[in-house]
């Protein structure tokens, strides 16, 4: 390389470096490339009827039927308000992870997001990531906040503050195969004992038929064993005391574990709801207990070979009656650092208004508004039989389906271990339960300092 061109090279390098540095600085002024508004020109100039003209919010959803139902309705909202809504969707686990990372970094986005009040609600709220919504909900009388079910709102409340607005409610129910019960002359089980007896009768592994299936994976099973626990008169905790080693708890866990061990298909230990519904939909199982909000997995002909043979029944009764969980599984919340909380709230107010909840519920998403459930149109999205079961389940329901602590993950694992040990055939379960109870107590005790 001769002297002259080398000099040019140096000069060029200097310029390139300087430009890169400046570009880098410029990038830092904005709040992350992906979330920056994508609107090229604000829609329309009539500011009066479009209070949020030119503004935009980002919405992060789970990959959930509710998100699929709300997306087609967004253009209408955007046209009415002038606001642009940027949507991103994630699977449940990735959603928690993404939100956690973004909030830890103090990000102003997303403005609005779906979250699971019982799973992350307490932690998110106590970490200061959620904007309390108490002062917003009563601003507009037409919104009619009192119309939202009390237990659903209770689930979304932390330390007396409203952390989010419920969008999906669910209860645990019993799914069964109408044809099999009819052929065997068995009545639909009304008690847990009847369920065990019926599962035993219909269990015929030699012919590839199994009596019962439900979630068997350590953490996922906890929510579904909860209704067994309540119906036998137990709970995860009593005040500040862990109670998963009481006789009632052991009885409930044993019933659930033994149903899966003795009358379940092979491999239940690695099953969450997709696998459980999958094998039920293959027509290989007689009974399934899980959330009613997932019913489409059993009745959709594309996913299920027994779509027209599925029956629904209220959760069977134990020693304390039929006590399924009745909870808010998903809510919408506002980022405490959101730049435009008014716009964020305007979106939630719209998405959870009577009119829109009716529309999302018509597509099979059980909402939290009493008026929509009372409206005949509001139940058209569900099989008539299921509507009856839902109405019954809501009455006696319990407002949580897992230990209500900050560190839900660790608490769930403690409970799940007991049930998994039963499924793997551990005969002496009391010491396992005592140890798990100690672990759960540790999680509860940590909460007190926060």
């Amino acid at each position: 390389m001769d002297r002259k061109s080398k000099r040019w090279l140096s000069a060029g390098t200097a310029v390139v470096l300087a430009a890169t540095l400046m570009a880098g600085c410029g990038g830092n002024d904005k709040n992350g490339g992906a979330a920056s508004p994508a609107d090229k020109g604000p829609g329309g100039g009539a500011a009066a009827d479009k209070p949020f003209a030119g503004k935009s919010i980002s919405l992060v959803t789970a990959n959930h039927p509710w998100a699929d139902a709300i997306k087609p309705l967004l253009p209408e909202f955007e046209a009415a308000t002038g606001m642009k809504v940027n949507v991103e969707g994630y699977f449940e686990d990735q959603l928690t992870q993404k939100l956690t990372v973004q909030f830890t970094a103090g990000s102003e986005t997303p403005d609005v997001f779906m979250y699971r009040p019982l799973q992350e609600g307490k932690l998110f709220f106590k970490n200061g990531w959620l904007q309390p919504l108490d002062e917003y909900v009563n601003k507009d009388a037409d919104y009619d906040f009192a119309d939202l079910s009390k237990s659903a709102v209770g689930t979304a409340t932390v330390d007396g503050k409203l952390a989010g607005i419920p969008i999906i409610t669910e209860q645990e129910i019993l799914y069964y195969r109408k044809d099999l019960l009819e052929a065997a002359g068995i009545a639909v089980p009304k008690t847990i004992d009847e369920l065990v007896a019926a599962a035993q009768k219909l269990h015929d592994p030699g012919k590839g038929m199994y009596g019962f299936v439900a979630r068997g994976q350590r953490s996922p099973l906890v929510t579904q064993v909860s209704s067994f626990l309540y119906s036998e008169g137990g709970d995860f905790m009593n005040g500040d005391r862990a109670t998963i080693n009481t006789p009632e708890a052991i009885k409930a866990f044993t019933t659930y574990g033994k149903l899966l061990k003795d009358y379940g298909p092979p491999g239940v230990l690695n099953m969450s709801w997709p696998q459980a519904f999958g094998i039920f939909g293959q027509g290989k199982v007689a009974f399934l207990t899980d959330a009613n909000s997932l019913y489409k997995n059993a009745t959709d002909a594309e996913k299920s070979q027994v779509a027209d043979k599925v029956g629904f029944a209220p959760f069977p009764a134990g020693a304390a009656g039929s006590k399924p969980y009745n909870i808010t599984s998903w809510g919408l919340a506002v980022n405490a650092k959101s730049r435009d909380k008014e716009a964020a709230w305007a979106f939630i107010q719209w998405a959870t208004s009577k009119e829109i909840v009716l529309k999302t519920q018509e597509k099979g998403n059980p909402g939290a508004r009493a008026s929509v459930w009372d409206n005949p149109q509001g139940t058209t999205g569900f099989p008539a039989e299921l509507v009856e079961v839902i109405k019954m389940s809501v009455k006696g329901g319990v407002d949580h389906d897992r230990p209500t602590v900050i560190n839900v993950g660790e608490a769930r694992d403690a409970v799940g271990e007991i049930v998994q040990k039963i499924i793997t055939g551990e005969a002496n379960i009391q010491p396992v339960a005592d140890k798990a109870n100690e672990a759960l107590q540790g999680v509860i005790d940590l909460d007190k300092n926060k």
Partner: protein, 294 residues
Amino acid sequence: MPYKWFDRNLKWIYVLPAVAFVLIMMLFPILYTVRISFFEWSMSAITPPKWVGLDNYLSLLRDERFWRATRSTLYFTVVALVIEVVLGVAIAVLLSREFRGKNLVKTVFLLPMVATPVAMGLVWLLIYEPTIGAANLLLESIGLKPLLWLASPVQAIPSLIVVDVWQWTPMIALIVMAGLATIPSEPYEAADVDGAGRWRKFTAITLPLLKPTILVAAMLRLIDVLKTFDIIYATTQGGPNLATETLNIYGYVLGFQYFKLGTASALLVLFFALVMGLTLLLVWLRKRVEGQYD
């Protein structure tokens, strides 16, 4: 004037981007992790991290679950690595001969490696499904009893090893094939003259000359197997009953499910030390092997 300065420092300026990248994207996160490992922190914006000294490390060392994860990690790593190296070398030697359709076979062998691990995890999850999966269909069709695969605490790790072997043996084979290409032909000709058989040629010429290459391949693979996360998380999430919970999975659970960032960081620091230690061991081994031929 500035030209002259640039001129003199050109060599530094050119490595600057790479150095900056290493500092910002690699060194900083590691140091930050080490720092957090001395704190108790749930990522709260309200409660700041609390200094707890070595508590996180001590609680881990007393934690049964940590030791269980360590054992699972080593079990998975050692078995998978040994099988992959043996099979990888065998495949490389077979593929180094000339035969018809060689390129096609080579390409097919490399396919598992380029597939997305999470997608492959989901495919294997279906294959291993005890009731409707292909694995049990195959077993039953040859008259064997069906297995539980991933749903059994005992069979879960071996099942995952099969997936890892299926996916990553090609990488060892690829590296070893490159090594085979560099072996000169003279020793073989000399061996022919001396009347050595095929097996003798393999053990006395091919293997010794390949040793450095095999060790490099094993080292690269070792680091990756230890860190395996994707296929385990996609298939079992560490279950059933923690049977497949490796250190990496436990770290993820501590961080993103229990939100114990301090403990998770301490675990990752210990894990880093383990990976480092095993890697240095292999480096040392390689030096010794290479020293033999100096």
